[in-house]
């Protein structure tokens, strides 16, 4: 393979899906089979590109790759003069490799799965089948752009394109209405997602502008691998705010992640994003979108942690990430316990798992965060596609029984699907166990364990606030892990175990092979991906360099981070909390499955707390009342009606009226005094003109007024003569 082609390959990653998007939109939008063939083919090409790049990167070795990333860039935007340009390009360094490991394959699975999910070849195929594949392709192009970007601006391009795609896809069923007027419709959810994430985006844009101003570049390698620059940014302080420049830039960038990765307090959009078709949820929750938010802070970690040394006092962005991440993890997990919609449970689990990653960065666990990002993408894609398969099966039951009033996504309406949908059940079980972090077997265990181990080390050895931050992260994440295991068992129990509680569940049946195949592929990864990140000294035994992920991705930093030493306490804590959660869930939902018509046992046990959790701590209501409604009021009543219409226009109209009154007086004067003196006036005017002709000043005026009058006269003439 030629060197030039290889360097070009990262830039080419987004191209096939982008071409697919345009092909489908412009040409094949009426031919369903061609549309999905093009979309799937594009993702296959991306998988191939990814494999080539991964192989090549592997051969180069992490050290070489970190110093000489594979890539190409071009002069994109002139900045100042002729020699100063903004360069745009794509590249692959060890961290990009980590992303390329899961993004193409997950996207392929999702796109392939959509063929079955959107009903190809059946009587209830979606009205806008081709459009769906076009949007998915654009989504994929956005994600690939973000992953291969070699500068923050291009990353932001991919970031926002995904924002658009999630808007389009969440609102895909734009004309859907519900009987309950309080239930959010897809179109409302779409707007909510776009605007909520945009709050973070505009702050991030400021951060980018700030970074560019300070560093004079946005290139990752020029900033993040440049110790001198990082040092300067960390040493300079922002006047008046008392934090370092790097700190403020980091906080602004992190605001983008809070929006994109649905962290508290901007988490509200993600659960409602479930209004989109299920493959979209999988896309948003695993391969793209929310992963992008975490990827960005992982990528920018050297800047966010500029000035920090191992176990030393955390920087401002790290404090923010530790506090918000860990809090979000616990907060979202509690809500997930009380949700009945199969997809909403998963949605809150995503928010919580993203919190894990963010919190990990807060305690400086760069690699652990990246690793959890990878494993999470696999098992969450698996779970979402699995839940889609369940919903599909339930909807089949609805068609069969002509019952379209029963909610096909409500887990209380399910039960006993294990025997009806065995493939879905077993793969879902694997995904659920990975999410819970079932020890030793699943990928989720290894990545979660690493985060807990790192935060424990920070708690014990951290100085100057890092100890407290580590304790906060460790404790909150441990509690959250127990809850995760519990609600996962609840979810699987309610869905698959026991007897069917409705006719829908009774007549549900397994999905087609196009939907099962992706589940199987993802299930394999949901287990096997964890093997890449087993600590070198697991259980205190020297295994050699088995922690491939750590050794490889760690090279992306200037200073390769040392892994934490093995410690039994976090490992045992992890096993204990997961065991407790799983066992609790087993006792309540598996041993005595919920009967038809019986209430969810958790409602009684939690009492009034359940109501609060079910309503997500009333955040939507709060935001609606204190932010959205006031904004609407200010816009329509204050700025438009009061300021523009009443004050400004009112003033103008008053001036107008006043002038008119004066003019009226003049006219009376004219009629009385001059009375038919038009000729007189004309003569005087000509005399006057004659008289002032000798003055230069007069000529300017006359000339200009003439030109004005001529222009007017000409136009009036046009109107009068030709307006028939």
């Amino acid at each position: 393979m030629s060197h030039e082609f290889l360097n070009l390959l990262p830039v080419l990653m987004p191209v096939p899906p982008l071409i697919a998007f345009f092909l489908i939109v412009l040409f094949t939008n009426r031919v369903r089979w061609l549309s999905h063939t093009i979309a799937v083919l594009a993702t296959v090409i991306c998988v191939v590109f990814g494999v080539i790049l991964l192989t090549e990167g592997w051969h180069m070795g992490s050290h070489d790759l970190a110093h000489h990333p594979v890539g190409e860039s071009t002069l994109w935007l002139p900045i100042d003069g002729v020699s100063h340009w903004f360069k745009m390009g794509g590249m692959m360094d060890p961290l990009t490799m980590g992303m390329l490991f899961f993004v193409p394959i997950a996207i392929f699975c999702i796109v392939f799965y959509s063929i079955g999910y959107m009903g190809y070849g059946t009587s209830h195929v979606d009205k806008y089948y081709s459009r769906f594949f076009a949007f998915l392709s654009l989504f994929a192009a956005g994600m690939f752009t973000l992953v291969v970007a070699d500068n923050l601006l291009l990353l932001f391009v991919g970031w926002e394109v995904m924002g658009l795609c999630s808007y389009l896809l969440i609102g895909f069923w734009y004309d859907k209405n519900y009987k309950d007027p309080n239930q959010i419709t897809p179109r409302q959810a779409a707007v909510k997602a776009f605007i909520t994430t945009r709050i973070g985006d505009v702050l991030m844009l400021l951060g980018i502008a700030y970074l560019y101003t300070q560093a004079g570049t946005l290139s990752f390698s020029e900033i993040l691998r440049n110790e001198e620059m990082l040092h300067q940014l960390a040493a300079a302080t922002v006047p008046g705010l008392g934090i370092s420049v790097a700190g403020l830039i980091g906080l602004l960038l992190f605001a983008g992640t809070v929006g994109k990765s649905a962290q508290f307090p901007l988490h509200v959009w993600l659960p409602d994003a479930m209004e989109g078709p299920t493959p979209v949820s999988a896309m948003i929750h695993s391969a793209a979108m929310v992963s992008a938010g975490v990827y960005m802070v992982v990528r920018m970690f050297p800047l966010l942690s500029a000035g920090w040394h191992h176990n030393g006092p955390p920087t401002a962005p790290m404090v923010a990430m530790g506090l918000i991440g860990a809090f979000t993890a616990l907060f979202a997990s509690t809500i997930a316990v009380a949700q009945n919609d199969i997809k909403r449970v998963l949605a809150y689990s995503t928010i919580a798992q993203l919190g894990y990653m963010i919190a990990a960065l807060g305690v400086g666990a760069f690699i652990a965060a990246a690793f959890h990002l990878v494993t999470h993408a696999f098992f969450k894609a698996l779970l979402f596609l699995g839940s889609g398969s369940v919903i599909h099966g339930m909807e089949h039951g609805a068609h069969h029984t002509h019952d379209h009033d029963t909610d096909a996504q409500d887990m209380m309406n399910m039960g006993g699907l294990k025997s009806k949908m065995p493939w879905t059940f077993w793969t879902f079980l694997i995904g659920g166990m990975a999410l819970s972090g079932l020890p030793l077997i699943t990928a989720g265990f290894w990545s979660k364990d690493e985060i807990l181990a790192e935060s424990f080390t920070a708690m014990i050895h951290g100085e100057g606030g890092m100890g407290v931050l580590g304790a906060w992260v460790f404790i909150l994440l441990a509690v959250s892990a127990a809850l995760t295991a519990f609600y996962t068992m609840r979810q699987i129990g309610l869905t698959f175990i026991g007897k069917p509680r409705t006719k829908l569940a009774e007549h549900a049946h397994e999905s087609t092979w196009t939907m099962i195949l992706p589940l199987v592929i993802l299930a394999i990864f949901a287990v096997a991906a964890g093997w890449l990140g087993i600590p070198d000294d697991f259980l205190g035994i020297e295994w050699g360099e088995i922690n491939t992920f750590h050794h490889f991705v760690g090279a992306a930093l200037i200073e390769h981070p040392a892994g934490v030493l093995f410690n039994w306490i976090p490992l045992l804590t992890s096993i204990l909390v997961v065991g407790l959660g799983l066992y609790g869930g087993y006792l309540v939902y598996w041993q005595r499955p919920v009967e038809e018509g019986a209430p969810d046992p958790i409602v009684e046990r939690l009492g009034p707390t359940h109501e609060v959790l079910k309503n997500k701590y009333y955040f939507d209501e709060f935001y609606d009342k204190y932010f959205i409604e006031p904004t609407k009021y200010v816009a329509a009543k204050i700025v438009y009606e009061w300021m523009d219409r009443k004050i400004i226009d009112g003033f103008l109209h008053a001036v107008g009226k006043g002038t008119e009154a004066v003019a009226h007086r003049f006219r009376q004067f004219d009629t009385i005094v001059i009375n038919g003196g038009v000729d007189w006036l004309k003569d005087r005017f000509l005399d006057f003109a004659q008289a002032i002709r000798s003055f230069q000043t007069g000529k300017v005026q006359e000339y200009l007024w003439h030109s004005l009058i001529m222009a007017w006269a000409f136009a009036v003439l046009l109107v009068l003569v030709l307006s028939r």
């Binding site: 100042d80 179109r187 200010v634 230069q696 000043t697 030709l722």
Partner: protein, 508 residues
């Protein structure tokens, strides 16, 4: 070919005028012939300005393709035309939008001949402003652009057109008055109206006139210019003529109004205020920037508060042009600064401002056109009366989303590039303004998504069941704009190189 190149600007300027004369010779009831004649004649300046674009040499400083004729010798006024990188991009924008607007006007049925004639006259006025290098000529064309627009609104507008057209003309005339007086005073004291010459002597001039000191004269001149241009841009709080004028104007009128006429104001700032009054501009930059920020924020709020589709888009112009003003304020403050970092910021900001002018011209014209497309089918502009139109107009829906996203500033499309540049340039000078302007940027998304949701989404209003998809002619109007938006978003170099060369010389 040599003849064309030697007289290029004159040819561009006069070809629409010639077209107008030809149209006036056609009998009034030959509507089809009139339409096509107008359209074909508007393609001539486009072709010529493409020649101009290709032959414009970015390596040469100063003005190119100059054309100078003695005109009013006693006054020292001359018919002096010429273009630099900023004006050449504006000329291109004008000549691109004019044929598209004429194509969009093919559905005009009453008094077609006069409509088309006025339209071509309007094009002459706009092109003249961008080409003039003499204050008198500048002012002449400034007014020539005003008059046809007044009649377009007044004669072919919708229900409230008389109020809107009067408001438009009085507002702008109020600005023109100051402009005219200032031009006279300047010409008298400097003895020339030539813009390049004035640029050299005027800022350093110490001679007063009419008993006023030089600094007073300059201050008066500066504010007269500033107010006139602020009305045209428009900068908050001089903006209330705009929503009325836009809403009542015929579709093509709004396209040109938003696409080009607003740029005249911003162009005036860059061409006249910055070079002629650098000292005053430096002093007042914070005020200009402040009001630019107000335009961004209040424009966005007011837009969000609308229920009328066209008025919503109209207010979006206030919002978007605010960024242009912010960029100009930065250039006024730190243009030519000895601090290399600040000088770079000013170049980036002004580059962004000029590119934003170009970009807004494309996206606003496209959006106004798209409003016109459904207005023609539904005869309402009330957002609450639409609903679910995507179902009957799938292609239209896609096009509308595309153009709205360009306006939102979605990366990959044109608006993002210029907004980012302005934000980047402004951050180091006016950090607070820039940060607060983000509220406006956030609301830009909110109001455009509100429009999309109410127009396209939801279940189809049964009243519009028979509404037809966007026609071929209508697509031909909007496709070129979309192609330009995408091309600038992906590869901004092709316009920015031309703009950047001049801007760097101006403020770098």
């Amino acid at each position: 070919m040599d003849f064309i190149l030697d007289n290029l600007l004159l040819l561009i300027l006069l070809s629409p005028l010639f077209g107008m004369v030809v149209i006036l010779l056609i009998p009034g009831d030959e509507k089809k012939l009139i339409r096509w004649t107008a359209f074909l004649f508007s393609l001539v300046p486009l072709a010529l300005s493409l020649v101009l674009w290709i032959n414009y040499d970015i390596g040469v400083p100063g003005f190119q393709f100059e054309h100078k004729a003695t005109w009013y010798a006693p006054l020292n006024a001359s018919f002096h035309l010429g273009v630099d990188g900023i004006s050449v991009s504006m000329v291109l924008l004008t000549t691109i939008l004019a044929p598209l607007a004429i194509l969009a006007s093919f559905n005009i049925k009453e008094r077609v001949r006069m409509y088309m004639a006025l339209f071509l006259l309007l094009e002459v006025g706009m092109l003249g402003v961008f080409m003039s290098l003499d204050l008198i000529v500048f002012f002449l064309f400034w007014e020539v652009g005003l008059v046809p627009m007044y009649f377009l609104i007044n004669q072919w507008g919708s229900d409230n057109r008389r109020y809107a057209s009067i408001k438009f003309i009085l507002y702008t005339m109020a600005g023109s008055l100051g402009l005219l007086l200032a031009i006279q005073v300047m010409g008298l004291s400097a003895g020339t109206f030539s813009i390049p010459v004035l640029g050299e002597i005027w800022p350093a001039m110490e001679k007063g006139i009419l008993g006023m000191s030089a600094s007073t004269v300059k201050a008066v001149g500066f504010w007269a210019f500033t107010v006139a241009f602020a009305i045209k841009v428009p900068i908050w709080p001089f903006h209330t003529w705009l929503p009325d004028a836009h809403t009542e104007a015929p579709t093509a009128g709004s396209m040109i109004l938003a696409g080009v006429l607003l740029k005249l104001g911003a162009y005036g700032f860059i061409r006249l205020v910055l070079p002629l009054f650098p000292e005053q501009a430096y002093q007042a930059a914070w005020i200009i920037g402040l009001f630019g920020m107000f335009s961004v924020i209040f424009g966005a709020y007011a837009s969000y508060g609308q229920t009328d589709f066209k008025r919503l888009i109209a207010y979006s112009s206030v919002n978007h042009m605010g960024f242009v003003v912010l960029g100009i304020a930065v250039a006024a403050r730190v243009g030519g600064s000895i601090d290399a970092g600040l000088a770079e910021s000013s170049v980036i900001a002004l580059n962004g401002a000029v590119l934003q002018m170009f970009n807004h011209g494309l996206s606003a014209a496209a959006l106004f056109f798209l409003v016109g497309v459904i207005y023609e089918r539904t005869h309402t502009r009330d957002l609450n009366k639409y609903g679910g139109l995507w179902t009957v107009m799938p292609a239209y829906g896609g096009i509308l989303i595309f153009c709205a996203m360009a306006s939102v500033g979605l990366p990959g499309l044109n608006g993002f590039v210029s907004e980012f540049m302005v934000v980047r340039g402004a951050w180091s000078v006016y950090a607070i303004y820039t940060a607060l302007a983000m509220i406006g940027l956030l609301l830009t998304g909110a109001y455009l998504l509100k429009a999309l949701r109410l127009v396209l989404h939801g279940s189809l209003n049964q009243e519009w069941k028979q509404v037809t998809e966007i026609s071929v002619r209508e697509r031909l109007v909007v496709y070129p704009l979309m192609a330009l938006m995408l091309s600038i978003g992906l590869w901004p170099r092709w316009v920015l190189e031309v703009i950047n060369a001049t801007v760097t010389r101006l403020v770098g």
